[in-house]
Symmetry: C2
Subunit: 411 residues, 2 copies
């Protein structure tokens, strides 16, 4: 992708015109300082695209959001989201998710079918509705153009940092903006979907093209991310486009559509990297680039196989240039290619080193390798040397803290 005229800006989901947000602690989380309920609101109705988890176990909010967008013909105007409880595998889950939509819709004076509802947290515990009911008026009243930080805080679970990203760019002379926020940081191995992510834009674009752009970009961003190989039950990524940038409506493919896709890629790719970097227990971000593949799908599979390998992730934690584990992970990729052409390098900001050529080891300085691996962003470059396609995948190291966090998440 060529990035032309993209400028990173502050403001997250509130960066685009006409979007407001808020977040607060309603009591689902006993820690009063931790927000657990968030809202995003658009003054104008939004064309909406979304992708959802492919897990057969689907959180009740996924089912209700799908129904709402179907009823409203892909028009949305608000998101309500809670953390601490996934509202999944509960007999009354859909009823509760619908109540959440109704509660916020009434406060914002919009039809309840225009609400996107999402939940994240422990699976299989009844969602208490009273804390939400008791705080929804305060939540709605507090929405503002600076509310993005409170909202991003509300969706955090084991995340250690908030994840927001926004860019500005131009479409036929009009300033356009895309902003997003995302939640990590475990149960992350998206499959045609993502973890919880909300993206806002003031671009004017048809819902069908918006969905097409989203599908294309998700494939090469979120779906190339793995923290632990577990695909969540509540994954959802939605993009809301309210058209307030007043650009000429994007209703067919062409240069405007391409610019929009580039900007959307930039936002989603940067959020993906943030998720990788803040993966549960992670001390290092790993990016694997696969070059020279015959097809995009092969490149994606190879890159993803490397960043998903538990053994390689442990080696990176230990700063050990155990490249045999990289080649092993490339080798068990479920795709057709020749292994004996493959070159592998490892890289960080202090240098790059070739560790494997044509599928066999080469001599290299262990000392230099160690220096490279001491950095906190590690890049693996795989060249299959059998085509022209390229893809990247993102992950993180596997650490003591991952085990600690997940040894007793529920308490």
């Amino acid at each position: 992708m060529n990035m032309f005229n993209l400028t990173k800006v502050e403001g997250g989901v509130c960066a685009p015109a006409g979007f407001k947000a808020n977040g607060l602690n309603c009591g689902l989380n006993p820690v009063k300082e931790k927000n657990d309920l968030g809202v995003i609101f658009s003054e104008e109705e939004c064309q909406t695209a979304a992708v959802y988890t492919q897990n057969k176990v689907k959180g009740a909010p996924i089912i209700v959001t799908k129904e709402n967008l179907k009823k409203s013909n892909n028009i949305s105007q608000a998101v309500i989201v809670n953390s601490k409880n996934a509202n999944t595998c509960n007999a009354d889950g859909e009823e509760k998710a619908q109540m959440m939509c109704k509660l916020i819709a009434d406060e914002l004076n919009i039809p309840k079918e225009r609400v996107i509802v999402a939940s994240t947290g422990v699976i299989g515990q009844i969602l208490p509705i009273d804390p939400i009911k008791d705080h929804v008026a305060e939540l709605a009243k507090g929405i503002s153009e600076k509310g993005n930080i409170e909202a991003a805080h509300a969706i955090m679970t084991t995340d250690t940092v908030k994840k927001e990203y926004a860019v500005k760019f131009e479409l036929d002379g009009k300033v356009c903006t895309i902003g997003g926020m995302a939640k990590g940081s475990g149960m992350i191995h998206p499959n045609m979907a993502t973890t919880l992510n909300f993206v806002t834009t003031d671009v004017d674009i048809d819902a069908s093209l918006l969905q097409e752009a989203l599908n294309k970009i998700v494939k090469i961003t979120y779906n190339c991310l793995s923290v632990d190989g577990d695909t969540s039950t509540n994954d959802m990524l939605c993009v809301m486009a309210n058209g307030l940038a007043k650009n000429k409506t994007i209703s067919q493919k062409g240069s405007d559509y391409d610019i929009f896709c580039d900007a959307l890629y930039d936002v989603l790719m940067n959020l993906t990297k943030m998720l990788a970097k803040d993966g549960e227990g992670a001390s290092k971000m790993i990016e694997c680039t696969c070059n020279g593949a015959q097809t995009l799908d092969i490149a994606i599979k190879v890159a993803k196989s490397v960043v998903s390998s538990s053994l390689f992730k442990c080696a990176i934690f230990g700063e050990d240039a155990n490249w045999g584990r990289i080649l092993c992970a490339i080798g068990y990729t479920d795709a057709e290619f020749e292994i004996d052409k493959v070159d592998v390098s490892i890289k960080s900001k202090v240098g790059e080193i070739l560790v494997c050529k044509n599928g066999s080891g080469v001599e290299f300085s262990e000392e230099k390798a160690k220096t490279i691996l001491e950095e906190d962003e590690i890049y693996v470059i795989v060249d299959l040397k059998q085509g022209n396609e390229q893809a990247k995948a993102w992950g993180c190291d596997l650490t003591y803290d991952y085990v600690k966090i997940n040894g007793d998440y529920r308490s």
Copy 2:
């Protein structure tokens, strides 16, 4: 499988008539007390069946063993195996593997094509042949009917215990025996193959039927095992049958073949459980049984998905009855079934508790669940309630020690 008249016996690979073995430290491993070179020898020629890793990266020993068995028309008489170095991804790998065959064949006075060669250890480091050359005479001279323990010791890497299992049974009035030894304990997620495993038997059986039996049993034992999701480059399981039990040659399917399959299942299943229990860093063995599946393949996939989930493995380490993670893992299984019929129970020797019915949570005593999970063998029973097929899969918890062991395996 019905287990009739199977008796567990001592002796591992030396339990069947006519098999001898030995192991010693030849210096590949600087720890003098740790064997790193092993041999198994049969007085008589053996019908041989084998399965190998499906990883595209194949260790040189795999390639040489395949060639040998092809040349010898599936007749073998000896195994030579080293640990500490996988002899994989080295330009001179095949040459070294062939040298290993020649060295031991000359000592044992057999054709070199009758040698099965295997290596396990670090990938991508040149295998020093001199330590093997210098010790092969001593290795061969020391073979005995009690050498199984030294041989089993020689294939250990990060294993904490030796893994041997043997059973006796009868075929048309003749006492028959099958024995096996296996190596763990990381990079274990077998795919139509296994980690290093050597099985011996004195049963008289055609090589083609032996291969058919092996394929059938591997599918429901080793291939249902996952320690860390990484499929090794050097996986190999071979069965050597020397016919010294003097039973009527098994050359077609029927009751003798069925009895043999039951015995082979018992040996491989018990070795599989040992591998799970001694998975790298493991503190608990996990067995998942999937009942009520429409097909065997669905049952296998569901059971394997549960034991492979990093999040569930951490919860078991933390003795936390976080059943939502079990349902999540069932849900992302790549197979067709209805999720809202599924029941899940957890069990150990102190009790059993239902945690999920028809895909939704049920109330249960957290205290009782905690007591169940304090044991070191944990059983998960999944009932899909949509068919009659059943399968089991085995794994282990994910612990601090797994990360520690693999943070710096090479040193």
